[in-house]
Amino acid sequence: MSHPVRIVGRLVMPAFWLALVLLILAPCAAFLALAVSPRLFDQGGQWFTLSYLRGAFTGTTFVAMTNSIWVSCVAAVFGTVVGGSIAWAVARTTLPGRRLVTGSMWLALLLPSWLPSIGWVQLFQADGVMYRMGFDYPGITNLILGPFGVVLVLGLRCVPFAYLAITAALAGLGQEFDDAARVHGASRLSALRVVVPIIQPAIWAALAIGFAESVSDYGVAATLAYSANFPLATFELFGQINNFPANFPAASALGWLLVATIALPLALQARALRGRSYAVLSGRTRQAVRRPLSLGGGTLAVGGILLFYILALGVPALGAVSQSLLADFGASFHLSFANYSQVFHSSTLTGPLIRSMKYGAITASVTVVGGFIIARLLTKVRTKAVRMLDFLMLAAIALPSVLFAAGYIFAYNLPFLSSIGINLYQTTTLLIFAYIASSLPLNSRVLVGAVSQLQPSLTDAARAHGAGPITAWLRGVFPLMSKPLLVAWLLTFTGVFLELPISQLLYAPSQPPLSVAIEDNLSNYHFGVGLAQSVVAVAIALVVVGSVLGVYRLLAPRGWRRLGEATNR
């Protein structure tokens, strides 16, 4: 390798760590510091105090935090069980219609949490769509607009994360492990119990992602939970920022509690992976064999998956679409396309749409590279620095986006930055930095499952046979990672495309992203137009996802696409 290339190579990791510090650690640290030192950023008189932290354990804050924790636990387990079961059925059985499942799972994933939540509210609230259709069931209304409904919607939201994480791991789980168990006398169920632990990294990642996503979720907290009078931590936190006067130190204290709750899944995940090797993907991996389903088994499986989609997509879609076809107020059920007509004739939709697509593409491209590097560090290197990185990534997932954005406001609005000519506040650059920082942790978690299965000898073999390090990676590893990387790219793209809290706090003046434009309509009680905008935005996002996956299927070499495919025997 030439001398300049070696110098650049040696600078990559330090530059990467510096970027992580500036993008994630510094803004998080700035905001969290407020809880103990409000005077640091002119938010109070004390240089050091614990009063805000103590206050977080009292009153409505403590109630909201407790609600968030138990709800997130149940939602994460629910999501992992359901998502994992669906992933197994799709990857390892002759499930009818399985090709539709992955695409449909994307739809469940790209929906921002506030959208299905609003759909449920619009459908079941006291004067909602069901009432206007003539169905008035107060018992069901109270059930949905209560803790059960919150757990249900959050749990359904966890399913796609778990499905994607576990699907990626199942792709590398060859048939030989199941065969070894069956040959030694294990029944199908026993073999499952033996084989499933091999994909433990993906299962723990799914639980960790599910819990962190649920804890930090704002959309459900601000809509369904708010309507149900069931306080959650994130909305409580937003209230402390949004109220006048804003109480940033109290919000920061609540942020500490949220970060602390992530220690549990992190500890569980680390304990599960300690001292074990999960490297199973290599040239010797044999394609999995699909188990044929009986009529009863197939009916049960299809029925279960359909039920998931009805609850995750069908019910909220009915609520959202029907509201978008109704006038904003009134008791009648007269449907029309007036709202859609208004949307398509309004220039206020086009600009934010294109803007958000650009932001999504840029963020996804940068995040995929960073996410892969982080996933590789987390799975292959176990130094103290990497363990800290692991905690930082999970903490960043848990930190609600609204807190993240607030941290950026503080960190990048500091006087000393202006004095050295760095004025990023209220610029598109800072907005994209915040998108990258908030997407990177989740992106890396999604990739951990696939990266943990890479055999190091694949790059060693390429190097030993004359390939440089970059060529060895491009030809030996990248094809194996192409699908997981593409999935991670699309996940980030769709997440940024409809992202709300960061967009709302950091967008550059007169350049609102799509979600801000939609939120403006909803907050001004233009439900019909707002939901019509949302439906159109979701449709466009689906087209993008379908097109990208379709192009991959058409253009990727056959060898890349066959990895992880199962065979029918």
Binding site: M1, L281, S282, G283, D460, A464, H465, A467, P557, G559
Partner: protein, 330 residues
């Protein structure tokens, strides 16, 4: 050259250092006259002009067999179609022409290893490294592939460094064998010399012993290099002689090591034996019957071959040939 040693002896680490996959912290590595690695210098693997066959084959699962082999030809700067054509030729030499369009997961273990071998040969490098390539294969296939590796590498005129923990495999393949113990090279030589004259008790054990006894020499070495040996607590029916590992030494305490080939079985009442033992186990091998003999108060003798089968529990006379008995001073 075959590097032989137990697990943890440093074979794989040494091979990876030779390949450039690992860096060394001290010393130096030279390939020919070129220094490729020192503490402060490290020539990367792709610049060392070598090839490697990995224990887990390391075939890229997303490439068909022909492309796996053709990859090694990239360093020669020839075009894509020429690479594929030459890869097909090499695959023909290892008998895999019919499988060149398959993916690695569609091949058996032996076939995958032959692809890995073809990849290593295709590059026509001066040095080929083998990292226990046969350890995952069944015995019959292992023997067939060993012969293929031996003949193909010799036909290619390449230098090969092969690591294994299997003594039989090492001796069958090697022109020279290096025995490793805890990261140190304890003996280097021809297989025959290492077997006949192991440098240390560890080398003797690792290259195959029937048994070993604490002993004492009763005299200095005779003209034929043998000494009379007395085994602690084990009276012999006739004087036992063994070769001395250290020439010129006077009577001393020692460790008597016995090769399986140094033991003959005879009737226990024929007065031709050194001692009498009891057969603990007998197993048919294609070369004869392999016996395990219990000696009262001493470790069992194992791997004792005989044309005649002696039944379990039967008493049998044991006779030692001095050529295969070696006493090391302790």
């Amino acid at each position: 050259m075959v590097l032989l040693g137990p697990s943890g002896s440093g074979k794989t680490t040494l091979l990876r250092c030779l390949a450039g996959i690992e860096r060394i912290s001290a010393g130096s590595i030279s390939l020919g006259d070129a220094v490729v690695a020192t503490r402060n210098r490290h020539l990367p693997p792709e610049d060392r002009d070598l090839a490697m066959v990995f224990q887990d084959y390391a075939l890229w699962p997303h490439m068909i067999v022909r492309d796996n082999v053709a990859f090694a030809l990239r360093r020669r700067g020839i075009g894509r179609s020429a690479r594929r054509a030459e890869a097909s030729v090499v695959l023909g030499r290892v008998g895999l022409s019919a499988l060149e369009d398959r993916y690695p997961s569609q091949l058996s273990g032996g076939e995958q290893q032959r692809v890995a071998l073809a990849r290593a040969l295709a590059g026509r490098t001066g040095l080929i490294l083998f990292d226990e390539p046969l350890s995952n294969l069944d015995a019959n296939l292992r023997e067939r592939l060993r012969i293929e590796i031996s003949s193909l590498v010799r036909d290619a005129g390449a230098t090969a460094i092969y690591i294994t923990h299997d003594q039989a495999e090492a001796f069958a393949l090697a022109d020279r064998v290096g025995v490793l113990e805890q990261g140190r090279l304890v003996q280097l030589g021809r297989p025959e010399d290492i077997y006949a004259s192991p440098a240390t008790p560890f080398v003797a054990r690792f290259t195959g012993l029937a048994g070993e006894f604490a002993a004492r020499t009763r005299s200095a070495a005779a003209e034929d290099g043998t000494v009379e040996v007395e085994v602690d607590g084990l009276p012999m029916a006739r004087p036992l002689r063994a070769r001395a590992a250290r020439s010129g030494a006077g009577p001393h305490e020692g460790l008597l090591t016995i090769r399986p080939t140094a033991i003959d079985l005879c009737r226990h009442d024929a007065n031709e034996h050194h001692l009498v033992g009891t057969v603990a186990d007998v197993a048919f091998r294609d070369r004869g019957y392999e016996h395990a003999i219990d000696i009262p108060g001493h470790p069992r003798l194992t791997g004792v071959l005989s044309d005649i089968r002696v039944g379990r529990g039967d008493r049998v006379g044991v006779r030692f040939n001095p050529t295969g008995c070696l006493v090391f001073p302790t």
